[in-house]
Symmetry: C2
């Protein structure tokens, strides 16, 4: 029952995958290469209003279309110039932040050779970044930086070593006696363990918060949530057990054995975005003795009844974008507070079910953890 | 003078970028998905003889061509089926190991949506793996695994934090008093700091060697060699100074401050593949007091005169594929030995200027370091 309701919510929020701020008829000719372009690539470009312009070389193609734009499924149709390059500009400004996209060339789906790739939609997709007015919080700055470690941990339940990425905060290597709390942070459907550091900038968000003294330093662990074993339309059929076993019986013991962690419930958090929120809810309710802090980022809500009779969480953090279902998120936090729980809601302004919502959510959530 | 000769050698070896074992008229119909495919993708495929088969969806395209195959520049021409998919098989078996490739759709260069991407040729390219008969040495096994850490180190000379990957051997986290030697390991032209762990499997090669007790555990540091600032045809115009400053004045001090290193010449090696070998030669000759072990992998040779009057290296390791210039490599080691240096040459059988040569070279070189 919990699963069904939550899955329905997650699917509903995921449908509004990408939104656009408004329609406009003229745009400023101040386009610059996207910050996510491959080295030396001039296109795609973004202007000061959030319009994106694409340019693809395919001299003998009959049609080239980019999946981003105001035209819904149609995206942006490119037109061919005399030089064989296809160009086009979105019909309006796009939401600030990160967007996945792809390019359809004569009916086949490819990536934009100008852009770097990010794993989403169960494929490596092109990525573009519309500079956000508040991008400072995830900008690479001249501050002390933590490390992101790729680890391969043993997993008897799946029969193969599995990959995780572990963020250790600045200074982790120097004070060899200090121990840290740990956040287990999950990606969404179609993504994998690379998402939170590649498109999420989780490490930079933490580095900047720590440099400003705004959060306690902690470790973040990111692994594949086995989300993509179900089709997008069948998320409600997802069974949590295989991933729960990997996470709680294999990964957590590995992290506690190989990193200087504070290995107890009050110093262990779990959070996830979208379907990773659904996983977070399932696992925290199944294993309330393991995690003390819960976070659902565009990934459903808790009702007070869900938590009844279980070990009380130290904090429940619930967020989404303003273009998703902010009323449900706010109501959940209000209901939880009314029932005596420490609950916080956060709504990311002018964003939808996309990564800027989740970058901001992590930025808001981190200072509240492990207090 | 040194630079010119070396650059000419590197360019010469780089021209034979990819070779093929033989031509054949019939092939075994036992094709399986390449191990480097994106999750769930059936194509590209490889058969037991090393033929590759491609399948690309582009129903309205007029021509689809894959850059790999026996046809030299022509690669493999795909033909369109009734279902709109273009398929084709290489005209012969390919060399064992890793190959970069791309797909030309109606005159534009894209990646194969079925394959994962690897940075080479100054772009993220598709990758395919022809299983090697000796692939065990870089296979992911159920042995203790080291970590690969992404670090962002400060760099005054370039004005921005820079990325490096640091391999720490299994057990690094547990014995907090143990210190390790360090190998600085460089990629080739067109590649970057991701190459040695992504396509090179440097971490798995080390994990397996260490599990078998065949090498002393050591740290490997991989950063971008600033190689792609010059065009491919102008490598002889390359100036080493900017990278030498980053490496010796910024990265090495960062690594020595943040990892448990044995911070002296006798416990510090530098090696590189192709243009990374050229950089290794330049930097070891400019800074003989910094590195005690030198490795050039398909990246030129040392003559005894090069080393005259400088601090003597503990070891010079020189290698290439048998389809490159093995005679030059062997002669260099013989000449160096004749002049009283500890030099070892290695020739990778049946490989060209590609990553299997370099995986094998690392596998041969690692046990010789820091003895």
């Amino acid at each position: 029952m919990i699963t069904r309701t939550l899955a329905a919510f997650v699917v509903a929020t995921m449908i509004s995958v990408s939104s656009y701020s408004q329609t406009a008829t003229a745009f400023a000719e101040d386009f610059k290469p996207s910050s996510l372009n491959q080295p030396g690539q001039e296109y795609p470009q973004v202007n000061s209003q959030g319009y994106a312009r694409f340019r693809i070389n395919a001299p003998k193609a009959d049609s080239v279309r980019v999946s981003l734009g105001l035209g819904g499924r149609g995206g942006t149709i490119l037109t061919k110039g005399a030089d064989g390059f296809w160009t086009g500009t979105t019909a309006g400004p796009m939401d600030e932040g990160f967007h996945y996209y792809n390019v359809t060339i004569d009916g086949g789906k490819f990536n934009d050779p100008g852009a770097k790739n990010y794993y989403g939609s169960v494929r490596w997709e092109s990525g573009i970044e519309i500079p956000a007015h508040d991008q400072e919080f995830y900008t690479l700055k001249d501050v002390p930086h933590g490390h992101v470690q790729q680890v391969l941990f043993p997993s008897k339940s799946t029969g193969t070593p599995r990959r995780a990425f572990v963020y250790t905060p600045p200074g982790y290597e120097k004070d060899k006696s200090k121990k840290y709390p740990v956040l287990y942070l999950q990606h969404g459907w179609g993504e994998d363990e690379t998402a939170w550091s590649n498109q999420g900038h989780a490490n930079l968000i933490m580095d900047n918060l720590i440099a400003e003294g705004k959060t306690k330093p902690f470790i973040i662990v990111m692994t594949y949530g086995m989300t993509n074993e179900v089709k997008f339309g069948k998320i409600r059929e997802f069974k949590i057990d295989p991933f729960q076993t990997v996470l709680t019986d294999e990964l957590i013991p590995y992290v506690d054995a190989n990193f200087r962690t504070m290995a107890n419930r009050d110093n262990r958090a779990m959070a996830g975005l979208s379907m990773g929120g659904m996983e977070t809810k399932m696992i925290t309710l199944n294993k309330p003795e393991v995690f003390g802090y819960y976070g659902l980022l565009s990934g459903g809500v808790y009702a007070p009844e869900d938590l009844n009779g279980k070990a009380k969480p130290k904090l429940v953090f619930i967020s989404c974008g303003s273009k998703e279902r902010p009323d449900g998120v706010k109501k959940s936090a209000t209901d939880l507070k009314g029932a005596g729980y420490n609950a916080v809601s956060y709504v990311s302004e002018n964003t939808a079910h996309e990564f800027l919502t989740w970058r901001r959510s992590l930025h808001e959530m981190a200072p509240l953890l492990f207090k």
